[in-house]
Amino acid sequence: MALDLTGKKILVVDDFPEMRSMMRKMGVAFRATDIDDARNGEEATKLMTKKKYDIVLCDYNLGEGKDGQQVLEEAKQKDLVNFSTIFMLITAENTSEMVMGAMEYYPDGYLTKPFNKMEFGTRLEKIQQKKSDLAEIEKAILRKDNLTAIRLCDSKLEHSPSNAFEILKTKASLCEKMADFEDAAAIYNKVLSIRDIPWAQLGLARVRVHTKDYLMAQEMLQEIIERNPSFVEAYDWLAKTYEFLGDLSQAQRILANAVNVSPKAILRQKALAQLAYQNSDLETAESAYKKAIKIGKNSCFKEAADYTGLAKIYLDKGSSNDALRVASSIRNEFKNENNATLQAAVMEGTIYNKMGQNDMAEQAIDEASHIFSNLAGNVPTEVAMDLARSCFAVGKAEQGESLVKYVVRNHHEDEAVLKQAQLLFNELGMEDEGQALISSTRQEVIEINNQGVKLAKEGKLEDSIEFFAKAASGMPENLTINLNAAQSLIMFMQKNGKNDRYLYQARQYLDRVQKTNPTDEKYQKLLAFYKKIMGGK
C-alpha cells in the first residue's frame, strides 16, 4: 500500500460513532497516529480553530446544524485550514447534485459510502496527487494573482492532461474575473465543440450577461434550465438577467423556483428576500429572510443585513415591536462586531423614530454616528443612507447632509447611488436642495481629481502622488480617486524604478478597487502594469 499517513494530523467528522471509529481504524492502518474526531460541524470548527490539520475527512450529512459543505466553507473563509490541507467530503449519495450548486468552495475530493480500507487508501492517495498537481495554480488564485494562474493553466494544458476540462473551467473563470470575456467565451466554445456540457453553456451565457447582451443571455439560460432542471446556478443567472432587464417579478419567480430545488442555499434565500422586498411582496420577503437567518446561524454567510432586512419588513407591516426585537437581536448575534452594531443602531434609530420615541431615536443615532466615524470606508452605502435618513428625521439635518455628502463623494460616478441620494431628499421634500448638494459635491470631486491628474500630466508625479493620497484618505471608496492614486504611483515607478513603499501603497489602492469593481478595465490595465513592475527590477 502506497499511502503513508505517518505524522499526518487528521480530523474525522461524522455524527455516527461507529463511522468515526471505523475511519480512525483505517487511518491507523495507513500508519496515522494523530487522529481527532468530532461529532458535528460545531465541534469540528472548534477543533480546527485550535489545530491545523493535514487531512479533514468530513461526512456531508451531520444531522442538525452545519452540513459538511458548510463546515468546509467556514474553514476556508476563516482560514481554519492550511492551503495544503486536504478536505475530503464523505457522502452517502452520488455527488453530482453537489457540484451543480453555486459554490464558493469545493472540497478536494469526495468519497462515497460504503468504502473499505483499500478504497479509502487509494482514493486519498489520488486526491493527494491531484492536489499537489494543481497546487501552484491554487496558490496563485489564493493570492489573487490571476495572470500567473492563467499562465500556469496554459502550461498544464500543453501536456493534454486527463483532467483538461477541469483546468479549462478554472482558466475560463479566471478570464471572466479579469474581464477578458473573449478568451473566456473561446474556452467555453472549445469545450462545447467536444460535448454539450452544462457548465460551459452557462459560462457562455454568463459572458453574455457581462457584456450586457441580456436578451441573448436570457434565451440561452432558459434553454439550459429546460434541459437541466436541477442546475440551480443557471436559475441564479437567469434571475440576474431579468433584473438587468428590469423585470423584477420574473426575477423573483425564477429565484423562487431555484430555492425550491435547493432550499438550503443561504445566499439564494437572501437574494430572493431582497428581490421580493423590492417587489413589495412582503410575505415572500419575510419568509425568505427568516430562512436565511435560520440557515445562517450555522454559516459563515450570516450577516446583520438579513436582520435589518427582516426588521424593515416588520416596520412596513406596522409591527414596530417585532422590528425592534429583530434589530436588537443583532447585538447578541454579532458580539463585538462594529459594523453589525452600527447596523443595529441605525435600524433602531429608524424604528424609534417611526414609533415617535424621539429620545430613544436620538440615542441610537448618536451611537451609530459614533461608530460610523470610526469605520469610515468600510460601511455599506445603504447603511450610511439609512443613517442619514434617520438623522434628518430627528432634526439633525446638518449631520444628515454630511453623511449624504460622504456617500456622494465616494460614489460620485455611480448613477444608482446618486439616484438613491436624490430620492432621500425627495422624501424630505428637499428636492432642490438635494440636487444642489449632490451636484456641488460631485463637482468638488471632479475638480479634485482634475487637479491631481494635471499634476501628473505636468510630470510632477511626486506632487500628484501626495495629492491623490490625501484625496483617497478622504474618499476611501471612490473608484476614480483610488485608480488615479495607484496610477500616479505606478507612473512614478515606471520612470524611476520600483520601491517597496510605493509598491505597497499602489497595492492598497488596487485592492480597494478589486473589492468593489474587479472587472473595471482601467483597474485591469493598472494591475498588469503593477505586476510588470513587481517582476522587473
Partner: protein, 230 residues
C-alpha cells in the same frame, strides 16, 4: 397542494434514510473485512462464507444506488455530470472495489484498454453500470473476466466479457432496449439492466444516443455486455 407536499416528504425521507442505510452497509462491510482478517488462511470454508456475505452486501448497495438514481432521474432531480475521463484509470478505480472478491472466487480479470484514451461521460453513473455487470459476471463467470474499451467511429465501447454459459437465448433475442419495460420476474438482472439502459440513453452527443448490446461472444462463448457511449 397536498400531492405536492407528499412528494417533497418522500424525497426527504429517501435522502435521510439512504444516509442511514449507507452507514449500516459501511459497518457491515468493514466488520466482514475485519472478520476475514481475523481468520487464518486455513479457515477456507469460513472465509468463503464471508465472501458470499460481502458479495450480497455489495449487491444490496448497488441496488440501493440504482433505485435512488432512477428515482432522481424520474423526478428530473438528476444532474448529468459529464466530465473527461481517462478510461483506463476509470476502469481501474471501479475495479478496485471488486478485486478482493474476484480473487477469492478465483476469477482472473484481464484488462484491455489503451493508454491515454479520454472519453466523456458521467463517471458515477457509468461506474454504476460497470459495477452491476461485474457483479453479474462474478456470479456467472467460470474463472475469467475481460474488460476492454476502445473507440470505433466516434463511439466508446466498454465491453465486459466472461467465460460462463452466456446470456439465455431469450434475453439476447428480445434485444436489450425492449427489456426496459422490465418484468422483474427475470430476477437479478432486472433492475440492473433497466438502470444500465437508462444510463446509456442519458448520454447523448449530437444526434447519437448511448445504448447497450448483449451477446454471447465473450470468452469461449460466454456472455458479453457492451456499453456504447457517443
Amino acid at each position: 397542494m397536498t400531492d405536492n407536499k407528499r412528494k417533497i416528504d418522500f424525497s426527504t425521507i429517501l435522502a435521510s434514510s439512504v444516509h442511514d442505510m449507507k452507514n449500516s452497509l459501511s459497518m457491515v462491510i468493514n466488520t466482514l473485512d475485519e472478520l476475514t482478517d481475523s481468520f487464518s488462511s486455513q479457515d477456507e470454508a469460513r472465509i468463503e462464507r464471508l465472501s458470499r456475505l460481502k458479495y450480497e452486501t455489495k449487491r444490496l448497495n448497488n441496488h440501493l444506488v440504482q433505485m435512488l438514481t432512477l428515482y432522481k432521474i424520474g423526478n428530473e432531480q438528476y444532474y448529468l455530470n459529464v466530465t473527461d475521463n481517462d478510461v483506463a484509470e476509470f476502469i481501474a478505480d471501479t475495479m478496485l472495489a471488486h478485486q478482493e472478491l474476484l480473487e477469492q472466487r478465483g476469477i482472473v480479470v484481464e484488462l484491455d484498454i489503451p493508454e491515454n484514451l479520454i472519453w466523456y461521460f458521467d463517471s458515477s453513473l457509468v461506474a454504476g453500470v460497470v459495477n452491476n455487470v461485474v457483479n453479474n459476471a462474478y456470479r456467472y463467470a467460470n474463472d475469467k473476466i475481460r474488460i476492454s474499451a476502445s473507440v470505433h467511429n466516434d463511439w466508446l465501447v466498454i465491453a465486459v466479457s466472461d467465460n460462463g454459459d452466456g446470456y439465455p437465448a431469450e434475453m439476447i433475442n428480445k434485444g436489450v432496449q425492449n427489456q426496459t419495460s422490465i418484468s422483474f420476474e427475470t430476477g437479478s438482472t432486472g433492475l440492473g439492466l433497466y438502470f444500465s439502459t437508462q444510463v446509456a440513453s442519458m448520454h447523448t452527443h449530437q444526434d447519437k444516443q448511448g445504448y447497450l448490446h448483449l451477446d454471447n461472444e465473450g470468452i469461449s462463448n460466454g456472455g458479453r455486455f457492451s456499453l456504447f457511449l457517443p
